[in-house]
Symmetry: C2
Subunit: 347 residues, 2 copies
């Protein structure tokens, strides 16, 4: 037995709700109500409570709260491997937004490996997360079933299973593609290559399709031979550029399905003494932080991490608060013009 009944706690440890109640000369329930901003509390008493809270430096214990209320105020965030430079930026934004709403975040970076996924779901379940954001850009694979059977509200990016408890953030890739192609067309480009990942993750496929459609609409059809298949990574970009170089027939511009890929291509071309943008223009996708810092800096189709994070948290909150959840959110893109694009070399 630790202590008998509820003696005043005179130790130097962290003050608990009873210490606050004592200091404010009210009951614990009043403290609880005041601290949780319940309407039914006399302003006079509330002030007394807050004063005590400040003086004692009281912090409510989230574990105790979760235990008794059944809601943890923790949001799960599942992302793909952290080597994609987009991911850390997304995590940070999500965290920022979630904290603003007083949610804690449980982050899990998963590879598409059963063991990892199982562990991840165990963590989410053990901590009783209130909702989960899955930001794997369509690459969630095996994960989906396990999440859904879990029953908590979810939000996905790009693709999502039909399910009452989930929403989708749909990025308007077509808008982005159109913006990029119109930009290049306006500069005078007619010979554009696509540097484009394979179908995995699905989002890359969407981007590729969007480029094709937009090119069609702008009457700048892109020949089959101008579609370079490579991973949407820096390494992929290097390989893709290599392929272009060895063909000895450079286009005047390259559209990439990711910034990482664009940066790889930029490096490879620079090394071969091809100058960007004088000899060739390059456009990236995502507008990762690094796009501002390359030389030359990269023109890119921005997907706002801030907006993604805000929308994701907002979607989950709607689920949690029973305000009729919204199934689908559309995210806009914006072309950020920097130094990697200019008029084509012949013009």
């Amino acid at each position: 037995v630790k202590t008998t009944a509820h003696q005043p706690d005179t130790t130097t440890g962290r003050p608990d709700i009873r210490a606050v109640a004592r200091a404010a000369k009210v009951s614990v329930s009043t403290v609880s109500r005041a601290v949780n901003d319940k309407a039914t509390v006399n302003p006079k008493m509330a002030e007394r409570v807050w004063k005590a809270v400040r003086e004692l430096n009281y912090l409510p214990n989230p574990q105790a709260r979760a235990l008794v209320s059944g809601r943890s105020r923790i949001l799960g965030l599942i992302v793909s491997e952290i080597t994609d430079p987009m991911i850390p930026e997304l995590i940070q934004q999500f965290e920022e937004v979630a904290l603003r709403y007083r949610y804690e975040i449980l982050t899990a970076c998963i590879s598409n490996d059963n063991e990892h996924i199982a562990r991840c779901m165990r963590r989410m379940a053990a901590w009783n997360v209130d909702a989960i954001a899955i930001m794997t850009f369509g690459n969630e694979g095996l994960l989906v079933h396990r999440i859904l059977q879990h029953g908590v509200p979810t939000v996905f990016v790009d693709t999502a299973p039909e399910h009452g408890n989930s929403s989708v953030l749909r990025i308007d890739y077509e808008q982005g593609a159109r913006q990029a192609i119109e930009h290049l067309a306006a500069l005078g480009h007619r010979d554009i290559a696509l540097m484009a990942g394979p179908a995995r993750p699905p989002s890359v496929g969407f981007r590729l399709a969007a480029f094709g459609k937009a090119a069609q609409e702008c009457a700048i059809p892109i020949a089959e031979s101008r579609i370079i298949t490579c991973d949407p990574t820096m390494q992929g970009g290097i390989a893709g550029a290599q392929q272009l170089l060895s063909s000895n027939d450079l286009p005047t511009a390259i559209l990439c399905t990711s910034d990482a890929c664009a940066i790889g291509a930029l490096q490879r071309l620079s090394h071969a003494a091809i100058r960007v943008p004088q000899d060739i223009s390059i456009v990236g996708f995502d507008d990762i932080h690094m796009a501002q810092m390359t030389f030359p800096s990269l023109t890119s189709i921005q997907i706002s991490r801030g907006e993604m994070a805000r929308t994701a948290v907002c979607a989950l909150r709607r689920h949690l608060e029973h305000r009729s959840p919204v199934r689908e959110y559309k995210l806009h893109t914006q072309l950020i013009v920097r130094q990697s694009t200019s008029v084509p070399r012949s013009g």
Copy 2:
């Protein structure tokens, strides 16, 4: 009142320890002991318990555990801003290691801004983290006092306050510097430049000093004029390279205090049709993931993120388990030779 006393829980909700006890026909304490691998439990009963655990898919509730035991099994991880590519890799490794020891991680990315720091410390305190790893490479500034007054065990990188509850991970920068300079010397380089950040964060200063000392020891003194001051970022590297270019007097090799910086320099030089490594060699520091993926790939002084993470968690565990804590740990470096270094252009 929710339910009267402890009726069997027939709802479909998550099974609790009592459900397991019922299923295994033992008492809750036996379940608790078995699940926590206490030695004093009959193997026969333990097996019965584990069987029930598996059948019911029981997961202990960490919140309840924390509440009653006073230990949360959460480790705080405080890192600097996430735009440094080193940081996400560090987070992931730390997470990996911590999870292996059944610790959860509470990550906070902080800028050196009072509001952020206050919020971060509030989170750490509210969740009752058992210990904190501070991986801000000497740039913790205002943070330090607030952490120490908190009283939990801590581990710092490079620099740490004198304090009974904290350990330091000291990276052997001198070893790294020596490896790099010996490598260049062996290739025949005699005219080496340092691309080197200012004193903030302190770790950069340490690296710079280490380079100087190692150069001295290898009898390849580095002239004042060969020390280019710039930020240890990609942008810094671009600016530094620019400075070298405009001086019209290139060294045969550049040592950088970070990979980001090296990559920036690589880009800038490539753009100016200076070929790496034929015209100039470049060595980075940290061996971030991206160093493998640049063109040409980057020779770099590796600081193993895995080792850092393992050592940090190990240091904290020593504190937590009263095994006489160790004040200081030394981390070794390793030169990873890739394609950005070769013999100097004249030779």
